[in-house]
């Protein structure tokens, strides 16, 4: 039992150990390979890391909840783009354009409604049809992306509002808006998962759906709420990012679902559901962003970054499997 506890402790701490390793590696390698005059561990660089982690990170929190449920959402990248299209395009509508800067909260509200609405659609289909979430959201990924292209063809949708950019780039103590939003979301989802009945129910729903039904959990509505939650968080992420950039390409957000799932899995959430941690997901996101940033810092190209992250993902899953097996053997003895 004690050794199983140790293994578990090691698992939950592994992602942070990995982050420390990355930091050491890039600091040392950066001293030789980088053309930059500032070090990798420079506080400004670390704050930037958090800021750049925010868009994927906010969505990953929702993905953690959905994956603990034993479901998945492949449509987040398309929802991310569609929310941005709605937000930026709505500011050009005559009814909102007349409001000046007061159009901003309305545009944000519309984007949030869009995200939650699309999440609701996903959740209801998963609940009512009983089709596997992977298939449902795979369809949604294609369908929602189709909506993005129908909206404005191949053209980017844009609305540059400097007030909105300033809000998105504002900050307290060097923590910029995206970091603050990310922090608030981490706190919110952590409270949801650890201090509410709904959150605690998420684990049995993913672990053993039949037992959860027998225990009186209304599994269908439970899952629908979580899809609405991930839709909301995706919209929030979209708002945070596109308020600062003011323009969305119809291709934006493609492959986000894969980066996010990678981060969640790196953080130790089981693909089959029933186990996972919000805080470890944050670690997973930071680990990936650190890898992207660090490899860029030492001069590796984009293709190399993808190769390395893919390899690490497989390695981590393999190690996880080994650790799990060992702990089970311990139990048998």
């Amino acid at each position: 039992m004690r050794r199983q506890g140790l293994a578990r402790y090691f698992r939950s701490g592994a992602i942070w150990g990995f982050i420390v390793l990355e930091l050491i590696f890039f600091t040392v390698a950066g001293a030789f390979l980088s053309n930059s005059d500032t070090g990798f561990l420079d506080p400004g660089n670390m704050l930037l890391l958090l800021k750049q982690s925010a868009p994927l990170g906010i969505i990953a929190l929702g993905m953690t909840v959905v994956m603990i449920n034993g479901n998945i959402d492949l449509s987040v990248g398309a929802i991310f783009a569609l929310c941005a299209v709605v937000m930026l395009d709505s500011m050009n509508w005559p009814i909102l354009a007349g409001l000046g800067d007061w159009a901003i909260p309305f545009a944000w509200g519309l984007a949030l409604l869009t995200g939650m609405g699309l999440g609701l659609v996903n959740g209801l289909i998963v609940w009512k049809t009983g089709v596997d979430a992977f298939i449902v959201t795979l369809g949604a990924m294609l369908g929602f992306r189709g909506l993005v292209f129908m909206y404005n063809g191949e053209q980017p949708t844009y609305h540059l509002n400097w007030t909105m950019v300033d809000i998105a780039e504002a900050g307290i103590f060097g923590l910029q808006t995206p970091v603050l939003v990310f922090a608030a979301c981490i706190l919110g989802v952590w409270l949801l998962m650890n201090k509410t009945v709904h959150g605690r129910n998420a684990y049995p729903v993913g672990d053993n759906r039949e037992a959860a039904v027998n225990a009186g959990i209304r599994v269908g509505p439970h899952m629908v709420w979580n899809y609405v939650l991930i839709g909301f968080l995706t919209a929030l992420s979209s708002i945070t990012f596109y308020s600062a950039s003011g323009s969305v390409n119809p291709n934006d957000g493609m492959l986000y679902e894969l980066w996010i799932i990678t981060a969640v899995v790196l953080g130790g959430t089981k693909l089959s559901g029933g186990r996972g941690s919000v805080i470890a997901t944050v670690g997973g996101i930071i680990a990936i962003q650190l890898m992207r940033k660090g490899l860029g810092f030492i001069g590796a190209d984009t293709a190399m970054v993808n190769l390395v992250i893919g390899s690490i993902l497989v390695l981590v899953l393999f190690l996880d499997r080994q650790l799990n097996r060992k702990s089970k053997q311990d139990l048998r003895i």
């Binding site: 390979l33 930059s36 860029g296 001069g299 984009t302």
Partner: protein, 322 residues
């Protein structure tokens, strides 16, 4: 190049470098960061990157941080922020999206880092934050195409009666509009008696251009010349004319030479175009950045030369890589 970090432009950065690592600071050396649009997507961009790296390596005073956004706007914005954070001396950006990068460009500008836009410009709202645009001049490409067309008509002795049609790029694209304007403004100056019968968009697409040309061939019995916004569309038009058996009587001119156009010129089916080299593009961007850093008076629109290419002089040029 990339394997060394010993750089410093000013006393302050030299001091910072000296504190951060055992730097053997060289005076007069500059670090230039570049974030490109999408290197792997076509051979123009791949050749551009290689040419940029080669040009930087040839210059002992230049160190580069070469980044590729992979077509992802978010990644490009993150790369801009990284370059600002790394305090490079100048940033060259090939925008993934002419609108979305404006706030990031403003951030660099506010941090006191000069920004040079390369190849395709950002939207006008961002001009205040950019030091210079280095790229091809699409107006000139259009007007030179008009000259090629006119010179050919004069050789054939039909400059007083020729009738032509035009196939433009995607409506709304600045490049498409400029190449068309340049052509339509210049043609009456050199060949006042040539008639432009019609102008329709081919959307940069070969199949679309072929359909447009098929319609033209039905509509007009006498077509002596076709001008298209690039060779890709021009070859589409050529194919339509070959199918109709009328290619022999028509002079085909494009505004940017593609490999398909070059090959068609070699076969004698296509007359001429404008040669735009990714190597020139990359070298011009680097030189513009260096000139800005040297405090020289660089024009805001700093165009590199895109010469005329026809069947007559095509052996002076390599086959385009795109």
């Amino acid at each position: 190049m990339k394997t060394m970090r010993f750089s410093a432009l000013t006393a302050t950065t030299a001091l910072a470098a000296a504190l951060a690592a055992p730097a053997f600071a060289q005076d007069d050396s500059v670090t230039i960061g570049i974030t490109q649009n999408n290197v792997g997507v076509d051979s123009y961009q791949t050749t551009y990157e290689q040419a940029f790296i080669d040009a930087a390596e040839a210059n002992p005073d230049v160190e580069t941080v070469v980044l590729d956004a992979g077509g992802d706007v978010a990644r490009q914005i993150a790369q801009m922020q990284d370059l600002i954070q790394q305090e490079v001396d100048a940033i060259i950006i090939w925008p993934t999206n002419g609108q979305a990068v404006i706030p990031a460009v403003r951030e660099a500008n506010q941090a006191g880092i000069p920004v040079i836009v390369t190849n395709s410009n950002i939207a006008e709202a961002g001009f205040d934050f950019v030091n210079s645009f280095s790229g091809p001049d699409n107006i000139t490409q259009g007007s030179r195409a008009a000259e090629i067309m006119c010179d050919r008509f004069k050789d054939l002795g039909i400059e007083d009666e020729a009738q032509i049609v035009e196939i433009t790029g995607q409506p709304g694209y600045t490049t498409a509009i400029e190449r068309s304007d340049g052509f339509q403004d210049r043609l009456p100056e050199v060949c006042p008696n040539v008639t432009l019968l019609d102008s329709q968009p081919g959307d940069w697409n070969r199949e679309r251009a072929q359909q447009v040309m098929e319609a033209f061939l039905v509509q007009y019995d006498d077509i002596d010349g076709v001008y298209s916004g690039d060779d890709n569309m021009g070859v589409g038009a050529l194919n339509a004319a070959i199918d109709a058996g009328r290619a022999e009587d028509i002079v085909f001119v494009g505004a940017t030479n593609f490999a398909v156009g070059y090959d068609a010129m070699e076969r004698g089916e296509y007359w001429g175009s404008i040669y735009q080299s990714p190597v020139d593009d990359a070298e011009a961007a680097l030189q513009t950045a260096l000139d800005v850093l040297a405090g020289e008076d660089v024009p805001f629109f700093n165009y590199f030369d895109t010469p005329k290419i026809t069947q007559e002089n095509m052996d002076e040029f390599d086959r385009p890589v795109f």
